[in-house]
């Protein structure tokens, strides 16, 4: 749009809306402060004692809207409604708009006053997300290394990169992002910038799942002189139970710490760690690539202009000697197909 269409006044207005957009809580010109105008005594009585004289309650009564077409007197509010509106004017008011930081009922980081065990934990800020994206995509660090460096779960690192890629693609295509929404959400949530200045690490990265076999106490008589390690304990719980060392998400961290204990210089230990994590990731990637390649080799793609026909090679032998084997290709003969039976879940279980 040619700029000369807009006069400076238009500009002025656009500017003020810019301000509001950046910080929706910023008071616009002429906006009254949002503090409740009730006196403290009334405020107290409305919340603590439900049995209060009705005259006092009238202070909170919702003003009746006059309808031009109706002469019927509108009904009075009942007690519950009076309490509600009283609360809305006093305590409820401060939860109406974002305050720039968390604005929960329980205060601090607790959105549910009755549930002390749930906390609204910080989420990654946009800056933190780009830091992670750059570390993975530009510096080429292994995911495990990024995870260990910033104390962010490996799966989260992968998710951040995955979604950032899509975001970049959108920007490239000129698809509009939900910027106003993202900015507004940022004013409501606790955020972590991953600058390393926070007192706590972002999240634990070495969680291991508690197997249900290990949830009961187990008394295992053994000789006192026996060197009873974690591996032995795992075996005692069950043959197939893995020791924590094998369940670690980043087992290379243990090797790193062992290096440190053995007196290896910190730089060398770190270099070893990077090498090990890179190697493990390469191995996984190679495996996936090999699988994909195998599938691709098994396929012939024929382009007919409108559609691409993908021919997958199969073997008729997979149907078994009677032609009824489950692995057989195609609709099976002589076997009921129960896809429409009652109580069979028809919702897909995975999307690839």
């Amino acid at each position: 749009m040619p700029p000369r269409i807009r006069s400076s006044q238009v500009l002025h207005r656009a500017e003020s809306s810019l301000l509001q957009c950046i910080n929706p809580t910023a008071p616009a010109a002429g906006r009254p402060s949002s503090t409740p105008s009730c006196s403290p005594s009334i405020l107290l009585s409305s919340s603590t004692s439900p049995r209060q004289p009705s005259s006092q309650c009238c202070a909170f009564q919702r003003p009746q809207q006059t309808s031009s077409f109706s002469s019927t007197a509108s009904r009075d509010l009942n007690k519950a409604q009076r309490n509600f509106w009283g609360w809305m004017r006093s305590y409820g008011r401060k939860h109406r708009d974002p305050t720039g930081r968390t604005n929960y009922l329980g205060g601090g980081s607790n959105p549910f006053p009755n549930n002390k065990e749930f906390k609204s934990q910080p989420v990654l800020s946009e800056a933190a997300r780009s830091v992670i994206y750059d570390a993975v995509m530009k510096e080429g660090l292994p995911l495990k290394a990024v995870s260990a460096k910033y104390n962010v779960d490996m799966r989260r690192v992968a998710a951040v990169v995955r979604m950032k890629e899509i975001e970049k693609k959108w920007v490239k295509e000129g698809k509009p992002l939900a910027r106003p929404y993202a900015k507004a959400v940022q004013t409501m949530l606790p955020y972590s910038n991953l600058t390393g200045e926070e007192s706590e690490p972002f999240e634990p990265i070495n969680d291991i799942h508690v197997h249900s076999y290990t949830m009961q106490q187990l008394f295992l008589p053994t000789s006192e002189s026996r060197h009873f390690t974690r591996q032995d304990a795992a075996k005692a719980f069950g043959e197939h139970i893995l020791a924590p060392d094998e369940k670690m998400r980043i087992p290379e961290l243990i090797a790193f710490e062992k290096d440190v204990v053995a007196g290896v210089a910190n730089e060398d230990a770190e270099a070893n760690f990077f090498k090990a994590t890179a190697a493990s990731e390469r191995a996984i990637a190679d495996k996936h690539l090999a699988l994909a390649q195998r599938d691709e080799n098994n396929k012939t793609r024929v382009d007919s202009g409108r559609f691409e026909f993908r021919f997958e090679r199969i073997s008729v032998d997979s149907a078994g000697h009677d032609g009824r084997a489950r692995r057989g290709v195609g609709w099976r003969y002589g076997v009921p197909f129960n896809d429409r039976r009652r109580a069979v879940v028809k919702i897909p279980t995975k999307v690839e």
């Binding site: 559609f307 026909f309 997958e312 199969i314 057989g328 195609g330 609709w331 999307v351």
Partner: protein, 106 residues
């Protein structure tokens, strides 16, 4: 009796799915065939995250068995002929417009 290579319609209303079968010409369409040599899903599918809008159809086929049955004189129906000709088992019957983009190295 003539042995045919043809499609047997399975699936549901409005969601067809075909077995590519070898069977005697006079038997019912969905009766047990001599052999099921593949499947044909005629509903075009989209790849995840694919924005090009190009759709694909999935076919499974045992090419060796198909060649064998053609070799012993099985007669493909027109539709089956079209599918078999795409992978080069027989010469295309109608218009040779299809081109194989990525042929697997045998």
């Amino acid at each position: 009796m003539v042995v045919k290579i043809r499609l047997a319609r399975f699936g549901r209303t409005n969601s067809p799915f075909y077995n590519i079968v070898v069977s005697h010409a006079r038997t019912a369409r969905n009766s047990r065939p001599l052999e099921v040599i593949g499947t044909y899903d005629p509903i075009p599918k989209k790849d995840s995250y694919d924005t090009s809008g190009k759709l694909h159809k999935d076919i499974k086929l045992d090419i060796t068995r198909a060649r064998y049955w053609i070799g012993v004189g099985a007669q493909p129906t027109d539709t089956a002929w079209r599918l078999l000709s795409m992978v080069g088992i027989i010469e295309p019957k109608f218009r040779p417009s299809t081109t194989t983009t990525t042929e697997k190295k045998a």
